[in-house]
Subunit: 367 residues, 2 copies
């Protein structure tokens, strides 16, 4: 039971504390310190703990030096923006997109163009049309699997065509894949990296699969980009913590990652089902949303003209904390958009949260 | 005994593996995961693990929100450069200075002016003279205690006058203090932060006091700077690892840091004495050096006209790896400068290393 007074947060995409494999991480920490203290407690090359780089390189079928470990993957997005973009350069993104990446692209001086996401991704013809008219973007940043914030999966045909366009027009695809392994139903679609490993900079992290607090993310980049990234990273922080990276490596080597992913799917799938059921019951008349088969988010688009400030204030009165939808939209708009992260809430909390959201929207409707 | 074939490295300022308190860190890791997993394995505000911020704030007698933990302190130097400097802005440094900071200041577009270091610091009158002639620097970056790469300590009177000048001309002093606690003999001098806590941005880290691999550094900044730094850090990486920060906190709370610093002093002081003795025996006719009372480095200035490339190549032939002295000098020069980090070498290795260095220099002399 949820106390009606307790605050419910539909804000950031954080995992719940019950998802953390604490006992296993205690064992891994002790093990790596016992066996590798002279390496993991020392400085090291900026690419990161070699065994973990090697493991990821083998998964991606590339040379080890194309894999660079970072303090989470966001920091690597910043580095990539710094080394690839000059002020005024064009960057393509999905619209809406991950607000933190949008902030970093803006900080690097990018001119950002967003392609509107529908239930089935963005319109690749629109991308092609802009390119034909003369756009020369440096990058296309995409979260093709269970996109943040919409939950949408980009179809294979769109991925294939985007890769062709990237090759034809010489831009990099930054493919961010933190939620990819958290598919609760249905079949995996090939990554764009699988389709064109020399044209795609793939990123991911262990934040959603083990723990965000370890701050271990990675990028798999084409050689020319990887070399510059290594230098930029070394100049910035010498190296990230090999200790944390070695813990992740040890955890994977023991076979615990795959078991943990199964456990997480069992934990999150009922939460996804609950939020979809509740939205259907409470919100059908007030908006539309994609029904994701994985990840952390359902993106709700309200069908009435509300102002984000009124929505957030109304939610606050009901003990509901929402993210500002405008942060995800790059060309203005987003007042009617509500990102609903469902993994960190129990089914009861989700039920109560959607009840409150419906109440807020209903009251705005009446006004 | 040192095999004469083994390579001896006088390169970076790294601690030796035998300095790492591995068993204690195993205990701290297990403890913080057992007690605080829901905090240390989660995302959190960018300032860092609150108890460690509070502990440092109490040491520095400031509010907690003026303390920001980073992934080592170098990353924080980068952030400070980004938020304080615009391209073309003037930055003052000691000359020579820490090569990695110089790289970051250049990357932020700074116009760098260096003040030549002698045995007794730089000439503060020269600083004053430039300011009177119209220089308007945004920052003065200083490593006042056992400076990297020279080993020099800036005298109290220079610190006092620099603080007065910073107040009069409105620039920030960035005071980097990673070696301060590693004083083997003599008395501590007040920090510039002690003299003017609202004009000085003080940085330090636990890399030299516990382990670099934890990547825990910090900055204590005036409120206006701290607020911007927190936002910049969050935008860049959300937060650094609370796990690592909590390990440092637990280690300090158990009273182990002070014991470890004593242990490190006992380990490093004989190494300093050895290198000073060897330099005196082997190098007196070839150069001059400051005799530091702490820290990691002796900076040797050769008194003959050598080219760095010849010196490095000659050293390489003798199984000696040196840093390129030119990297530490901001206005050109540095060919004759050799940074000698002594902490990570045993007394026998130091003896052999200085023997080899003397041989190299003697052979260049003869040519």
């Amino acid at each position: 039971m949820i106390m009606s007074e307790s605050i419910i947060k539909f804000t950031r995409g954080v995992p719940p504390p019950e998802s953390f494999p604490t006992q296993e991480l205690i064992e891994c920490s002790s093990n790596v310190l016992t066996k590798h203290s002279s390496v993991v407690l020392q400085y090291g090359p900026s690419g990161g703990f070699p065994p973990l780089r090697n493991l990821i390189a083998n998964q991606c079928d590339v040379e080890d030096n194309r894999v660079i470990l970072g303090q989470g993957s966001l920091q690597l997005v910043d580095f990539l923006a710094r080394i690839i973009l000059n002020p005024g350069d064009l960057a393509y993104v999905e619209n809406p997109s991950y607000d933190r990446t949008v902030t970093l692209l803006r900080r690097a001086g990018a001119n950002i163009i967003g392609f509107t996401l529908g239930q089935n991704g963005y319109d690749i013809h629109e991308v092609e049309s802009r390119l034909k008219k003369g756009d020369r973007p440096k990058i296309f940043y995409s979260i093709p699997d269970f996109q943040n914030p919409s939950g949408v999966v980009i179809p294979l045909e769109t991925r294939q065509r985007l890769v062709e366009l990237a090759q034809a027009y010489g831009f990099w695809i930054m493919e961010d894949t933190p939620y990819r392994r958290l598919r609760y139903t249905g079949q995996e679609i090939p990554t764009m990296f699988d389709l064109a490993p020399d044209r795609v900079i793939r990123m991911s992290s262990y934040s959603k699969l083990i723990s965000p607090g370890l701050r271990v993310g990675y990028v798999v980049a084409p050689p020319a980009v990887a070399g510059r990234l290594l230098k930029y990273a070394e100049d910035t922080y010498i190296n990230c913590s090999y200790f944390n990276q070695a813990i992740v490596y040890d955890y994977i080597e023991r076979g615990w990652l795959e078991k943990n992913i199964s456990r997480l799917k069992n934990l999150y799938e009922p939460r996804l089902n609950t939020i979809l059921k509740c939205l259907n019951q409470e919100m059908a008349q007030f908006g539309v949303w994609h029904k994701p088969k994985g990840g952390f988010f359902v993106g709700l688009m309200l069908n009435q003209e509300v102002k984000a400030d009124e929505l957030l204030a109304g939610a606050h009165k009901e003990g509901l904390v929402l993210s500002d939808g405008r942060g995800f939209f790059v060309n203005g708009g987003g007042d009617q958009f509500v990102r609903l992260p469902f993994c960190a809430l129990t089914p009861d909390e989700i039920q109560e949260g959607i009840n409150r959201l419906a109440k807020v929207v209903r009251s705005l409707h009446t006004n």
